[in-house]
């Protein structure tokens, strides 16, 4: 077992009486790819929303790098080194592809409002650096050819890639991918698997929620299975595939 | 005194709620409906000397048609509605209606006689103007009609279904576009009623719409947007508060009271006094 980066202790979330996540105790190790799987409505996205500050937990603790992050706002969590993508792609469709990634450099640059007003961007070295960095991350996901077109006009597969490039541009320690392969065809899914491998090679811990079992079993070091908000199994992909509880949850009995 | 104005705010608030429930839109032209109703009534009774009940019906019908046309011509054709665009469209309609009212009825305020020409009535030691009784009676009638319509008629139930979940309602075969149209027409009609009954007291002019609309919206949020029972209570409450502040603070600032209440509610408890805290969190403000 490696060193933990993200830990959950007794995490619970209710929506008006409906329990979405219940008593979750779970640890994500540094430099791994961890997948969270489970039927629809099992509470996977809710966990992501709690980690990234979009929803407050009803009770329990979330610990990132030995720091309690329960009460942090979204942008603070991003600044600590956690970034996410969304199940329904959330790109800035009215901005160009490279501008999308440049927004991702927001945390790594610091020109404020007043200086922005006074000095034109072309005269600021920081702006040039932001553009170069953004281009680097576009190359990383293979989108540098479409840098100057509007993000909204990209096909869905590329939009997912762009979302990941934007998240990587924040230089996260932990990247949460919410169904990165949903809506992608087989070829794109394979490319996504390779990309996730490359991200891991950068030293970024990846947690993904995904339904595509081939992808999950192919790239994960660790798999957690949720059902009705409860953790019913965890282990290596091989262990999970043989676990009778998991088979029951998926196939029903 | 406060009850009279309060009843008007309640009616305006019900008008807001109707359109809000069926479309999620806040109609910035709601106050203009009130003005049009009042001005039309003045023309029909004072200039054309029609009888009160007949003029009342004609004025309401006229404004209902305006509401119907507004929905058909400006809301229905919008294919990619964004909140900002819809807000600006209803603002544009309100400017247009205000401009038309100014050109047709002029800039001065118009006088109208009370519905019945009897003197003040003694009532448990208090003197009440007959017009106040008319206002309270008509408010009660509108609210009863509203309750009957939404609870006991098929169309009313369809409209409620649309307001709860438009997509499911459509799947059940309800024509949701028709319901939107109806809600605009009815809401305009209710606005007109408010204008008609208050005109004998405040004298109507073309420019009153914005403030009446704002105060009515204040009542709507205080009662919880979309909750028409709450709107009635909140409207009366604001009216009484206004009348009291006119007595205690200064009549100059009277108009600001309803607005301050509105801002306070929006800032502190946007779900209104009757809203459940849980619902509030789920709604988007």
């Amino acid at each position: 077992m490696g060193e933990p980066i993200l830990e959950f202790y007794g995490l619970r979330k209710e929506f008006g009486g409906v329990v979405a996540v219940d008593r979750l105790d779970f640890v994500v190790d540094r430099d791994t790819v961890t997948s969270v799987i489970g039927p629809n409505g099992a509470g996977k996205t809710t966990i992501f929303n709690m980690v990234t500050g979009f929803l407050p937990p009803t009770s329990g603790r979330i610990v990132f790098k030995n720091r309690d992050i329960n009460a942090c706002k979204q942008h603070v969590i991003a600044s600590l080194g956690i970034c996410r993508t969304f199940q329904s792609v959330q790109i800035f469709s009215e901005m160009t592809v490279i501008e999308n990634v440049m927004v991702g450099r927001h945390l790594r640059s610091k020109t404020g409002l007043i200086l922005s007003c006074i000095l034109p961007p072309v005269m600021r070295p920081e702006e040039k650096k932001i553009r170069e960095d953004a281009r680097h991350w576009l190359r990383f996901v293979g989108l540098d050819a479409s840098a100057d077109i509007l993000a909204g006009s990209l096909p869905l597969g590329n939009q997912r890639m762009l979302e990941i490039a934007r998240a990587l541009a924040t230089e996260p320690k932990l990247l949460l991918l919410d169904e990165p392969a949903s809506g992608l065809n087989t070829r794109e899914t394979i490319a996504m698997g390779e990309l996730i491998g490359n991200i891991r090679a950068l030293g970024v811990t990846v947690v993904l929620v995904e339904h595509d079992m081939e992808l999950v079993m192919g790239i994960s070091d660790h798999v957690a299975v949720l059902n009705f908000g409860m953790l019913i199994a965890e282990g290596t992909p091989a262990q999970i595939q043989e676990n009778p509880d998991v088979i029951t949850a998926y196939l029903g009995e | 005194m406060g009850i009279q104005r309060g009843s008007i705010y309640a009616l305006v608030a019900i008008g807001f709620n109707m359109i809000y429930n069926s479309t999620g839109i806040i109609n910035f032209a709601q106050g203009e409906f009130v003005v049009l109703g009042g001005l039309m009534m003045v023309t029909l009774t004072m200039n054309l000397s029609l009888s009160m009940p007949f003029a009342f019906l004609l004025s309401v019908l006229f404004v209902t048609i305006v509401g119907f046309l507004m929905e058909r011509l400006t809301i229905n054709p919008v294919r990619e509605p964004t909140v900002l665009r819809l807000i600006i469209i209803t603002i544009a309609v309100s400017i247009l209606l205000k401009g038309l009212a100014m050109c047709i009825w002029g800039k001065g305020s118009l006088y109208m006689r009370q519905f019945t020409q009897t003197g003040p009535i003694e009532f448990f030691g208090a003197t009440i103007m007959p017009q106040t009784l008319w206002i309270i009676g008509i408010l009660a009638a509108v609210v009863s009609a509203y309750i009957l319509f939404f609870n006991f008629t098929l169309t009313g139930k369809c409209m409620r279904a649309c307001s709860i979940n438009r997509d499911s309602a459509r799947l059940c075969g309800i024509n949701d576009r028709l319901m939107v149209m109806l809600s605009f027409a009815l809401s305009a009609g209710i606005g007109a009623v408010a204008g008609i009954i208050i005109t004998p007291i405040i004298q109507m002019d073309y420019g009153r719409g914005a403030l009446l609309g704002l105060k009515g919206f204040g009542a709507a949020v205080l009662g919880g947007l979309g909750n028409s029972g709450g709107a009635v209570v909140a409207g009366l409450l604001i009216g009484i508060l206004e009348a009291m502040s006119g007595g205690y603070i200064s009549s100059h600032y009277m108009d600001a009271i309803a607005l301050i209440v509105m801002l306070f509610v929006l800032f502190v408890r946007p779900g209104g006094i009757f809203g459940k805290s849980e619902e509030i969190r789920l709604k988007e403000f």
Partner: protein, 337 residues
Amino acid sequence: MQGKDYIGFSVFVIFMLALPHWISNDYYLGVLVFTAFNCMACVGLCLLMGYAGQISLGHGAFVAIGAYAAGILTTHLGWSPWLAMGAGVLAAVFIALVIGVPSLRLKGHYLAMATLGFASIVHIVSVAAIDITNGPAGIIDIPRIKLFGFALDSDIRYYYFVWIIFAVGLFFAINLVKSRVGRGLRAIHGSEDAASAVGVNITRYKIQIFILSAVYAAVSGSLYAYYVNYIDPGPFDIMYSVLLVTMVAVGGLHSLWGAVAGGILLSLLPELLSMAADTFAGVGIAYKPDYDTIVYGGILLFIMLFMPEGLFGGISTLGSLVFKAIARMAGRRYPSG
């Protein structure tokens, strides 16, 4: 691509500064001075509405605050006009902060209503607080502003003065929208969730931009007070706030140039209409200035229904279509490869 706006900016500034060569009539210069006030407020509002995506139906109130600060402090307390303008800006910053923090937690219709309510309260106070604002009678004898001891007492001098200040304001705004902060704002407009997920502090940015737009409005108001030397509550009713939104929306929400175009067009509209009235009169239609409101409403409605990107957006879409068509034709004539 980067420099396009700066070229446009230079052309625009040179044009505006050269304009008095063709217009020597003081009346029309005055109209153009008023145009500059409106454009100033529009640019600020455009930053808020077009870039950060937050509506405000209350910016007329900030114009009023700038104007009243200028009027009250120079006449009652004898402050210098520049100092009074600075105080007006500070007052606007403070009030924008107090109103903005709770308001900007609201969205869409609620934000619109809250800001409209705020504008209405400011208007009511300006009428009712007779001790301070002199109520409906207004404040008279507001001094003219001096620049380096040089009195700006003629229309032509004031024309250059306000358009240069406007140019500086526009320059700042162009810089801003192209900068890191501007990208953050556009990101908020695109998706608040995604913007906050990559670390944009959306609450802070919304408030900052609300304050900045209030500053533009307050400066516009102060300049107005020093130009007409008299202020009363009349021009600052909620209709003025609505008019500012109309200008920005008609020109095109998503571009500063649209806001400028809308500001110029709607400021000149009464003049254009009264010129047109002569033409109408020739064919037997008696056009009256009273009809202006209808025309405003009609234009706004038309634009929102048929050109939601605004005049400027519509024209640039049209322009790029024409450009593409020409390129296609050219391509057909000279097939490449």
